[in-house]
Symmetry: C2
Subunit: 224 residues, 2 copies
């Protein structure tokens, strides 16, 4: 685990879902202190109990989303676009001054392979607007197929990380690396639209090319 995450406690809001639980499992295995957040504490505890506990590490805990956000130093939001605003309202009182890593992709069913951007241009800018300037919003993990995180295999997909503060982006890059993914500094939060829109394209590619988890790689930089 990178020193950036030493002493940090990462809450995974929506941590019982496919993306949240997949990331939680990989972070727990890497020795990161994880709290699963969910609507009900029961479901959160159930997922937390299912996570691996490496020797010397404390087991992951489960709580409501609000409690998890309050207990954590870094908050990872893994919720569907349709729930983004409601869940931000739940956690907002507990995240002032903290880093919130938002993974929301603005997919609008049924045409999820068609880019349909929100009025704020991206889900990341929506999150920043709803959370206010006291919260350090970073975005990332838009393009990773959740079901690939559930397996103990390398995932052929980079994680583009967006945020206005370089040192906040580094935290998200460190989370990606703890999860076995390559995190890439991709600039300010306003750039998040690129990765969010790319998810619709990857969904379309899965359909057109009959594959189950197209991803992206940045070429021309050193592989890690």
């Amino acid at each position: 685990m990178s020193s950036t995450l030493q002493g940090q406690v990462v809450a995974i809001i929506g941590g019982t879902g496919a993306l949240g639980s997949g990331l939680a499992r990989r972070l727990a295995m890497a020795g990161v202190a994880v709290i699963i957040g969910s609507r009900t504490a029961d479901k959160a505890e159930e997922t937390a109990k299912s996570l691996p506990v490496p020797s010397g590490a404390a087991p992951a805990r489960g709580m409501t989303n609000a409690e998890a956000a309050a207990a954590a130093s870094v908050v990872l939001m893994t919720v569907p676009f349709s729930n983004q605003a409601a869940i931000i309202a739940e956690i907002k009182p507990h995240v002032s001054g903290k880093i919130v890593v938002d993974t929301t992709v603005p997919l609008v069913p049924p045409k999820v392979a068609r880019v349909q951007l929100p009025p704020e241009q991206s889900a990341a800018l929506t999150a920043q607007k709803l959370l206010g300037p006291e919260v350090r919003v970073v975005s990332g993990f838009h393009n990773v197929a959740a079901h690939k995180l559930a397996k103990d295999e390398p995932v052929e997909c980079d994680v583009l990380v967006f945020g206005d503060e370089p040192k906040d982006r580094e935290v998200a890059v460190a989370i990606a690396e703890a999860a076995g993914l390559r995190g890439i500094n991709a600039g300010p939060l306003v750039n998040s639209v690129a990765a969010e829109a790319l998810t619709s394209i990857l969904i379309g590619i899965n359909r057109n090319y009959k594959v189950d988890g197209a991803g992206i790689r940045i070429t021309g930089i050193a592989q890690k």
Copy 2:
């Protein structure tokens, strides 16, 4: 050369620039019939004369942008964002019913590593609006570093192709392949924003990671 391009004549509008001349060189080498378009016929002819002529192929020709668009069956626009509207006005009388492959990326200097989308959301949608419904707009080639096309080396970058008609996208995919690049069907024209925004991110990555031509690859589909 793919059969999709047999009998087609490809005009490269702005074909004396770095991207245009790089693509022209590779297309000419592949035996594609190429016309270089530029503001002045002299400059266009000069670039055309510099292109390779494979045995059995006719040499590339040079003309004004308007003449090139009129003489071609497929029009490839490789012009800076700031000239997009003016050059579309020049070629519009000559492209009704034709495919126009727009490569414009909405970069706004000096902050070219920051995504700054036009009011229409993307340069591709701007082109479609300006050209009108009689023109079949496709977009692509947003992410390829122009200086890499000038070399006889493989380019580690996929070409995401956007367009509302599958068979029009196929033409752009065939152009990419003739140029030695992998073209990927990336869905309707509205999706072009993803690749256009990605170019700002790649420019930022070049700067942050001190490299000179970051690109993208789609993973999880068969490599060609």
